[in-house]
């Protein structure tokens, strides 16, 4: 168990910076997610920490040790790829035994340790299968077991759930979170899925074009984004003009929608009604103004406005976040 510290880490390919002077401190046992669109440099950052790549500038510390120039082999990192990267010519057990073998751990001790890791990811009984005989979710669990069996200092996850379907992904998110907490291992996850980032992490680092946009707790980043990019990337953002000329952010959950003439909101017309199960989402056109359309998300309680309905829209000034 160790902390991670990045100091001004850059990775340039010619004129393009995949990582641009990134600073980050991950505390021991913390779960931090690097969130960004594709091409934002998040995977590059992970590969720099894993030692698969060398930064062009900056230092990387793991557990206080400067590992900037250390090869991947010497970093004691558990790394999980989106593609799982299981060894196809080995059984599940042999895959999990691999990191123990290279550390000189063999025999019954290694076997016990590997089977324990498989039990932890709920794969006991499948140890003699080949990876090709497993489902995607099971393969991901094997990859996870293989990356924690040797008690790594830190755990790096590169879009670990990206290749799975939605239901399985949500199940595995819960499992991953529990596993991480029970092991207490410092974890850095990379994803482009903002829901995943919000639900899993202690803190989120939002990355765009290789630059840090914000590092904050999920709720903080969602409600008080550091800039417009973060506001839009983390979810649906309603931007409203403020009196002082600045732009304010109102999240759809904070928008009230009611019948006209009751609560004195601004008149609007429903453009689209989208049912999301427990929520209903309205796309609204405000009347008599140049303002952009507003999106509202309300709990669905059996009755909803239909497209074309005239409604009144309002929000509390306390729910407006002036975007810096």
């Amino acid at each position: 168990m160790s902390d991670i510290r990045l100091e001004g880490v850059s990775k340039r390919y010619g004129a393009v910076a995949a990582a641009d002077e990134v600073d980050l401190a991950v505390a021991q046992g913390e779960f931090v997610t690097i969130l960004g669109p594709s091409g934002s440099g998040k995977t590059t950052l992970l590969s720099l920490i894993a030692g698969l790549n060398r930064p062009t500038a900056g230092r990387i510390f793991i557990g206080g040790r400067d590992v900037t120039d250390a090869p991947a082999q010497q970093r004691n990192i558990g790394l999980v790829f989106q593609s799982y990267a299981l060894f196809p010519h080995m059984t599940v057990l042999e895959n999990v035994l691999f990191p123990l073998g290279v550390r000189g751990i063999g025999g019954a001790a290694a076997r016990t340790q590997a089977l324990d890791a498989l039990k932890l990811v709920r794969l006991d009984g499948l140890q003699d299968r080949r990876p090709s005989q497993l489902s995607g979710g099971q393969q991901q669990r094997v990859a996870l077991a293989r990356s924690i069996v040797f008690k790594p200092d830190i755990l790096l996850l590169d879009e670990p759930l990206g290749a799975l379907d939605r239901k399985l992904r949500e199940e595995l998110q819960v499992e991953l979170k529990q596993l991480q907490r029970s092991l207490g291992v410092t974890t850095l996850l990379v994803t482009h899925d903002q829901e995943e980032a919000l639900s899993l992490s202690d803190r989120i680092m939002v990355l765009d074009k290789g630059r840090t946009q914000q590092v904050a707790a999920p709720a903080e980043a969602y409600l008080r984004p550091a800039n417009r990019f973060v506001a839009e990337f983390l979810g649906i953002a309603n931007f409203v003009g403020l009196a002082d000329g600045r732009t304010g952010l109102v999240r759809p959950e904070r928008v009230r929608v009611g019948p006209t003439g009751i609560n004195g909101g601004r008149p609007a017309r429903v453009v689209e009604t989208i049912y999301l199960g427990q929520m209903v989402r309205y796309h609204l056109a405000l009347q008599g103004g140049e303002d952009s359309p507003v999106v509202a998300a309300l709990p669905f309680v059996g009755k909803a406005f239909a497209a074309g309905d005239e409604v009144a829209v309002s929000w509390d000034t306390a729910d407006i976040w002036p975007v810096p």
Partner: protein, 273 residues
Amino acid sequence: MNRSTGFAFIAPLLVLMVVAFNLPIIYMLGLAFWDKGRGFTLEHYEGLLEAPVYLRVLGNTLRISLIATIANVAIGYPLAHWMRGLGRRARLIAIALVVLPFWVSILVRTYAWIVVLGNGGLVNRSLQWLGLTDAPVQFLYNELGVTIGMANVLLPFLVLPLFAAMIRIDDRLLQAAASLGAPPRTIFWKVYFPLTLPALAAGTLLVFILCLGFYVTPAVLGGGRVPMISNLLDTLINQIPRWEQASAISTILLIVALVIFAGYRRLDRKASA
């Protein structure tokens, strides 16, 4: 279209195959079991066992084939591995250079070796100029020359399937192994090599089978002094002529090749699985 009309369409081709290819082979193989006077006989096979020259040539063929195959692996594996690491354009050029000999007649390629390996050839003149030898080294008209020639001609048969298997290996597997703590040597022997093994084995057997039936290269580079089975068959058919004996030898060669081919098929299926 049902099965029977489909059969009608291929019937002419089938007849051609049977009449033009299969019957002559069966007739050829049958010759060894037939004697004009006495009917069925195994005498020609007994003749093979009694005359040590035949077994010696067979052993010779197997040995030269084995050496040429090993030389092929020793050159081909590192070559294919090196090609995997090249950039896109360099890789294309490398593949072209490996395949290029395919487009040149085998006869031309074999005679080219005479120019390269002869007493006044490129290699010998270089060796003498460097002062490594006083007299020219005998490369030609011995087993060394035959082995070099065969290894060259057959190299693409090993390199291409091996290269195909190697570029299929996901770099992330190797990165995963490194992140799990494996030093480069372990990554090679525990991950990379096992993943290329089926293709290597299949390619090796393919090269070996092709070596067994090689004719042109041993004839030219061996100068008649390195008898291999195909050259012996040539003698038995065109010069002596003793077709029955040739037939018996062909049968044995065919069986050896088929047994190895069965092994090749099993490995190839495993490699593509």
